[in-house]
């Protein structure tokens, strides 16, 4: 009897001190957040590496108690031309009021593709320009013992976030903006984080 109780005790202890994994964005890595906007004469791209946040789950199953939150500082987006950056910040994104954009949610799909890769989908809320909208994003996670790489491509509609579309001659841009994300995370114990 005593042996059973001790065994139960060990099992409880094991699960009590959880096996949750928290991965935070590794700032020293070559992270990429890129948005691409189509314009009649020239497409333009905005790029930043200033992404921060975390992803969390428990156990082997990525869906178990998963949480994720990632934010991008919009003041750091570089379109290649300072004046255009300023236009984007002041006229359209209004970064003095809304400097951060974020996505927070949970994983709703995690399909193992091979030893290290998972096709995932996350459902949650996307916040841009003071407006929060429900959003589902698909992506790919590459996971090794001490490294996590997350990549994703998706689109947003500017009017959903009350962003005015500039319209003057050739400067009119498409209402749909494409986003490409590719960034790296490490566990909290990683000294390079």
């Amino acid at each position: 009897m005593k042996r059973r109780i001790y065994f139960s005790f060990i099992i409880i202890l094991f699960f009590s001190f959880g096996n949750g994994e928290e991965w935070a964005v590794k700032k020293s890595s070559e992270n990429l957040v890129k948005f691409i906007s189509d314009a009649p004469i020239e497409d333009f791209e905005g790029v930043t590496n200033d992404i921060d946040g975390y992803i969390y789950w428990e156990g082997e199953n990525l869906l178990h108690k998963s949480q994720l939150y990632f934010e991008v500082n919009l003041n750091t987006i570089d379109t290649g031309i300072g004046l255009r950056n300023r236009h984007m910040r002041e006229n359209y994104l209004e970064t003095d009021k809304f400097p951060i954009t974020y996505f927070k949610g949970t994983l709703i799909k995690a399909e193992r593709v091979d030893e290290t890769h998972y096709k995932v989908a996350a459902r949650g809320k996307m916040f841009i320009h003071g407006v929060e909208q429900p959003k589902t994003i698909v992506g790919l996670i590459e996971k090794t013992t001490d490294h996590l790489n997350i990549s994703s491509k998706f689109e947003i509609k500017l009017s959903d976030y009350h962003i005015k579309i500039p319209s003057l001659m050739f400067y009119k841009i498409d209402e749909t903006m494409r986003l490409i994300l590719d960034f790296h995370c490490s566990t909290r114990t990683d000294p390079n984080k």
Partner: protein
């Protein structure tokens, strides 16, 4: 045995506590990167400079015209038939705050080389302001009499630029300037001190209106002080400025010495002419 069971029960409670939403260690950063204060949108209003520079590694190409015939000159189609004074220039951002600019005006084939440095800015909700200095030299290469390399064909100028932007709409600037060797043909070397001022009202993200004056305070001056007023259209990389002016000069060493036409001639528009500046930011 009873104690052991109680202990296990406590562990169950702990287990339940751990089953609550996990405690995330990641912390939101408290500081966000600060961007340089930018008040005016372009690097100059008409002829007078603003504090603004372009970013390190960027180029700014400029082409500007001043149609010499006044608006009501017969057969000149508001002066647009010309002739014109024209300036072509290329600026380069050495750093985010230091700008070098090389330009040429066809008016006496005047070459202009200048540097602008953004010195200081002060963030304030109602009264933000920034200060820059600009210095340059000009070389008149098409001269009547004498050799063009004569030192009298070189002119020098310095300017301090104060800018503010009220209500995020109304840009204002004051530009005290000093010009050495104001007129290359005067027997004695002349100097000019002027006080430039301008206002620009940003109607929306694209359109703005402005007025610019450059009053001579001391020293040599052509017939009148220079005045210009007009509108500006901006896109993400271009500025189109179209205006009326009483000055036909483009390079600072020529402009600072005064304007040829009077702007308050009563009952007539004959003392104004049309001009435009077009600039484009380039990145290679």
């Amino acid at each position: 045995m009873k104690t052991l069971l109680t202990f296990i029960l406590i562990l169950f409670v702990i287990q339940l506590a751990w089953a609550q939403p996990p405690h995330i260690h990641w912390k939101k950063r408290k500081t966000v990167p600060i961007i340089d204060l930018q008040l005016f949108h372009s690097t100059q209003v008409v002829n007078l400079p603003t504090v603004e520079t372009i970013r390190k590694g960027e180029f700014e190409f400029e082409i500007s015209h001043r149609f010499i015939p006044p608006l009501d000159q017969k057969g000149a189609f508001l002066g647009i038939d010309g002739p014109v004074n024209m300036r072509i220039a290329l600026a380069y951002g050495i750093t985010d705050r230091l700008l070098i600019n090389l330009g040429r005006s066809n008016r006496e084939d005047n070459l202009d080389l200048r540097l602008k440095y953004k010195l200081f800015w002060f963030r304030h909700k109602t009264f933000p302001f920034s200060i820059a200095v600009r210095a340059g030299t000009a070389w008149t290469t098409q001269v009547t009499g004498g050799h063009r390399s004569n030192s009298r064909n070189f002119q020098y100028y310095g300017q301090i630029i104060f800018n503010t932007l009220l209500f995020k709409k109304l840009g204002m600037g004051i530009v005290p300037s000093y010009l050495y060797n104001s007129h290359i043909y005067c027997q004695e070397i002349q100097t000019t001190t002027t006080l430039g001022s301008y206002m620009q009202y940003y109607l929306n993200t694209i359109w703005s209106l402005y007025i610019e004056m450059n009053n001579t305070m001391n020293g040599y001056r052509h017939s009148n002080d220079a005045v210009s007023l007009g509108f500006e259209i901006e896109t993400g990389g271009h500025f189109f400025k179209i205006f009326l002016t009483n000055s036909q000069m483009l390079n600072p060493s020529q402009f600072l010495a005064g304007a040829d036409l009077g702007y308050f001639a009563s009952g007539s528009t004959k003392n104004w002419r049309i001009g435009f500046n077009i600039t484009r930011i380039l990145k290679f």
